[in-house]
């Protein structure tokens, strides 16, 4: 008697479970392409609205940067009362925001506007949820001549601008000016290439009587972005098919002799006690610099404000170094861009998001943004705004990044690699680099092995997007 209902219950549960699985399997197969045409609506869709269009904006800006962004949102809302209302929503760091966005796509509930970091660009294109930025430019005849060219270069794929650059930065070399002066070096002309860094490091490294190093000449974290930057400055592509911009990339090229030279140099610097060994955590690299342990370091422009606040010496900034003196130079960017979701959103919402982006790209907004955060001014006229000018007078180091970018030649190598698994590639580069530093594996073997490991991941990705 007892067993019959129990078994029935089990059967029912099994049936329910398999139904659930079936349903989820179906939803998994179906709607990947999307039927609606993702194009920009005209300005007229916002005419004669009964109430303001709601635009939810997912971003990854917290602390100071978040406050500056909130200020801009508030200003936009007050200018557009009854028309468009933007609500900012902090989603955690870039990786988390992307994971949240993935979940939102699964549930068919994406925000109107999202901020996605550079490495997610190809994924955003492949997931086919957004209206290409180019479509808005074409619809409105929007003039991009004052937008930073290097940024347009990065976010343009197959001739079309895909998203709107917003919070972007580029890495620099930072120097401890006090240490430079003590060592009899000129802090106004910091080393420009690896050989010069080594020379300076020999002067800057201080040891105590027992031979223990108390101040290293150089110390930076093992951060994959730096390899991307070094390769751009050497005008070497990071992945094949012209950095993935002429067609899908199928392999990464960071086992290039240039990079091997860099990794070998790095290894030798540590071995000779001229550089301090830092792991992959960028906080540790920053701490080594601000505490005075390392007299030179590599970091993003975004770190400048923190460096000035946290160190008790004068901070200097120079261009990111070249691998060898005869490299052509150039600079790629990092950071995030803004994407307008089309799939599942009304023309009013799409247009509302674009109105907000236009506001963010004005010289006035960009002056506030650059001065408040240290990010590049996307609209170069932003540098002439009152807030930006004041900041540049107080801290001339802030203009180094803009100069470095302006000096950069625009080509496919400085555009950077466009690839769906760019995050994996960056981690693989870091692992190869770290393997060379922490084991007997030679730089060449370590980088080659890391690069070939990525090929399989790329293949899997390219297969899963099916072209």
């Amino acid at each position: 008697m007892k067993r019959i209902p129990r078994r029935r219950g089990v059967k029912a549960a099994a049936l329910l479970a398999s139904l659930g699985l079936l349903l989820s399997a179906c939803s998994g197969d179906g709607d990947s392409g999307g039927g609606s045409d993702l194009t920009a609506p005209g300005a007229e869709v916002l005419d004669g609205l009964d109430e303001a269009v709601q635009v939810e904006f997912w971003h990854s800006m917290d602390a100071t940067n978040g406050q500056v962004l909130d200020g801009l949102i508030e200003e936009f809302n007050s200018q557009n009362e009854g028309r468009v209302e933007v609500t900012g929503s902090f989603q955690g760091d870039y990786d988390t925001a992307l994971a949240n966005h993935r979940a939102a796509i699964q549930q068919g509930d994406t925000a109107e506007l999202i901020m996605i970091f550079d490495l997610g660009t190809q994924f955003m294109i492949d997931s086919a949820q957004t209206v290409p930025a180019q479509s808005f430019l074409d619809e409105d005849g929007y003039d991009t001549s004052t937008i930073e060219e290097a940024l347009l270069n990065y976010f343009t794929v197959e001739g079309e601008l895909r998203s709107f650059p917003f919070n972007n930065s580029t890495p620099l070399m930072y120097v401890n000016r006090d240490a430079f002066e003590e060592a009899g070096l000129d802090p106004d002309s910091p080393p420009a290439d690896l050989a010069e860094i080594r020379e300076a490091a020999e002067q800057l490294t201080v040891t105590d009587d027992d031979g223990t190093v108390v101040q290293y000449g150089f110390g930076a974290s093992v951060y994959g972005w730096f390899i991307e930057q070094f390769m751009a400055r050497a005008s070497t592509p990071y992945c094949d098919n012209s950095n993935g911009r002429d067609g899908r990339a199928t392999e990464v090229l960071f086992d290039d002799p240039k990079v091997v030279e860099l990794v070998e140099w790095w290894e030798q610097m540590i071995e000779d006690d001229l550089a301090v060994q830092i792991g992959r955590n960028t906080d540790d690299g920053q701490a080594a610099f601000t505490s005075g342990r390392a007299a030179m370091t590599l970091e993003s422009t975004g770190a400048l404000g923190g460096f000035i606040d946290q160190s008790d010496f004068e901070v200097g900034a120079g261009y990111f170094p070249l691998i060898s003196a005869d490299d052509p130079g150039g600079s790629i960017i990092g950071g995030a861009s803004l994407w307008i979701n089309g799939e599942g959103h009304t023309p009013e919402e799409i247009r509302g998001s674009w109105e907000f982006i236009q506001f963010l790209l004005t010289p006035e907004s960009q002056s506030v943004w650059h001065a408040g955060t240290g990010y590049l001014a996307v609209n170069t006229e932003g540098y002439d705004g009152p807030e930006a000018t004041e900041r540049a007078e107080e801290f001339p180091q802030f203009s180094v990044a803009a100069d470095q970018l302006a000096d950069s030649e625009i080509n496919e190598n400085t555009a950077g690699c466009m690839m769906g698994v760019m995050s994996d590639a960056r981690v693989a580069a870091e692992e190869g680099w770290e393997a060379a530093l922490t084991s007997d594996t030679s730089a060449q073997d370590a980088m080659s092995e890391a690069a070939s490991g990525v090929s399989r991941t790329i293949e899997e990705y390219n297969e899963s997007v099916g072209d």
């Binding site: 008697m1 007892k2 209902p5 549960a13 479970a17 699985l21 989820s24 399997a25 939803s27 998994g28 197969d29 990947s32 990786d95 992307l98 994971a99 993935r102 979940a103 796509i105 699964q106 490495l119 997610g120 994924f123 492949d126 997931s127 027992d210 223990t212 290293y216 110390g219 301090v276 060994q277 830092i278 792991g279 992959r280 955590n281 540790d284 690299g285 701490a287 080594a288 505490s291 342990r293 390392a294 769906g420 698994v421 995050s423 994996d424 960056r426 981690v427 870091e430 692992e431 770290e434 393997a435 530093l437 922490t438 084991s439 990705y461 899963s464 997007v465």
Partner: protein
């Protein structure tokens, strides 16, 4: 709450006045009624996720993370590789490196404190304190101790004229640095459990042993430790499971590096499922099932081997 005891009690009581057939049926309904809430919770939060994990482990994903093709057991087949072998080895070394010093350390602290008559409670409290730290805050504190370039520990070693240790930047050292952090975090719980156990040992046992001439280490080893058997066994099982599931300290201190030297099974699951913008839930689910099997096997072995030697008073 199983139907068992209820019907047994019924059977033991004098024969019920009503028909024999309906009573057990009504009992069963009643039992299921009481069981329903917990069955529902279990089904929703344990059985469904387990079923879902099995399902995901046999499917490939599209770029959004939705399962889109059946791949059979190929995720499991892929695990037969030197890379996965290394992950398992790292997990094993880490688990031993956490459980053995953790349990031995807690036992040593408790036994040594037995000899302290004044302020024993305060000292016990102090040793149990790490238990109050969250994984995240303890890891952040240790991250400062270990920080390459600015290590507090290296600063102390330097003052003592000793060599610097590459706590987190050497492939050989990093796993031990994470293990030290974990042992420190677990110590408090171990001390709490064993101190409670020692307090529960009847005074007569110790007195009898003393009359027989046992003192100091002899008393501790031959009387106190065997009497702590149940607590030690419990501690070994719990800390093994905890060690196998460690995540926060690895995430904060090393991120699985350098070069995968601190990538344990749990961390590898995280990397495949969520890190670096990937969403390979298929591979991650397959590894999660392996983790489940590992935990299960460890626990069964521990129950089979160690528990037999445990003396329950």
């Amino acid at each position: 709450m199983t139907p068992g005891p209820v019907s047994e009690r019924r059977a033991a009581s004098p024969p019920p006045p009503t028909s024999k057939r309906t009573r057990p049926a009504r009992d069963a309904t009643l039992a299921w009624g009481f069981l329903a809430p917990s069955v529902l919770v279990f089904a929703l939060f344990l059985i469904y996720p387990l079923g879902r994990t099995v399902y995901l482990s046999m499917h490939g994903n599209d770029i959004i993370g939705r399962p889109n093709r059946f791949v059979g057991l190929s995720h499991f087949a892929e695990m037969v590789s030197p890379e996965f072998g290394r992950i398992l080895l790292t997990t094993l070394v880490f688990t031993l490196g956490v459980v053995v010093p953790g349990v031995v350390g807690a036992l040593a602290v408790v036994l040594l404190l037995e000899g302290v008559l004044r302020g024993q409670r305060i000292l016990r409290g102090a040793f149990a304190l790490p238990f109050a730290f969250s994984v995240a805050s303890a890891s952040v504190v240790f991250a400062v101790f270990y920080s390459p370039g600015n290590s507090v520990l290296n600063g102390i070693l330097y003052r003592m004229g000793l060599d610097q240790v590459p706590w987190l930047t050497s492939q050989e050292m990093a796993l031990w640095s994470v293990a030290i952090t974990t042992v420190w975090m677990n110590l408090g719980y171990g001390v709490l459990v064993l101190a409670a156990g020692i307090g529960a040992i009847p005074k007569e046992v110790n007195e009898a042993a003393r009359i027989d001439g046992a003192t100091g280490p002899r008393l501790a080893w031959d009387v106190t430790v065997p009497m702590l058997g149940p607590q030690l066994f419990f501690l070994i099982v719990i800390s093994t499971i905890n060690a196998l599931q460690s995540f926060g300290q690895i995430h904060i201190l090393t991120g699985g590096g350098p070069v995968g030297s601190t990538t344990t099974l749990v961390y590898s699951i995280y990397q495949d499922a969520f890190a670096y913008g990937t969403s390979d839930f298929g591979r991650a689910s397959a590894q999660a099932l392996v983790l489940l099997a590992v935990v299960l096997v460890c626990t069964v072995i521990q129950f089979g081997v160690i528990e037999r030697k445990v003396h329950y008073s």
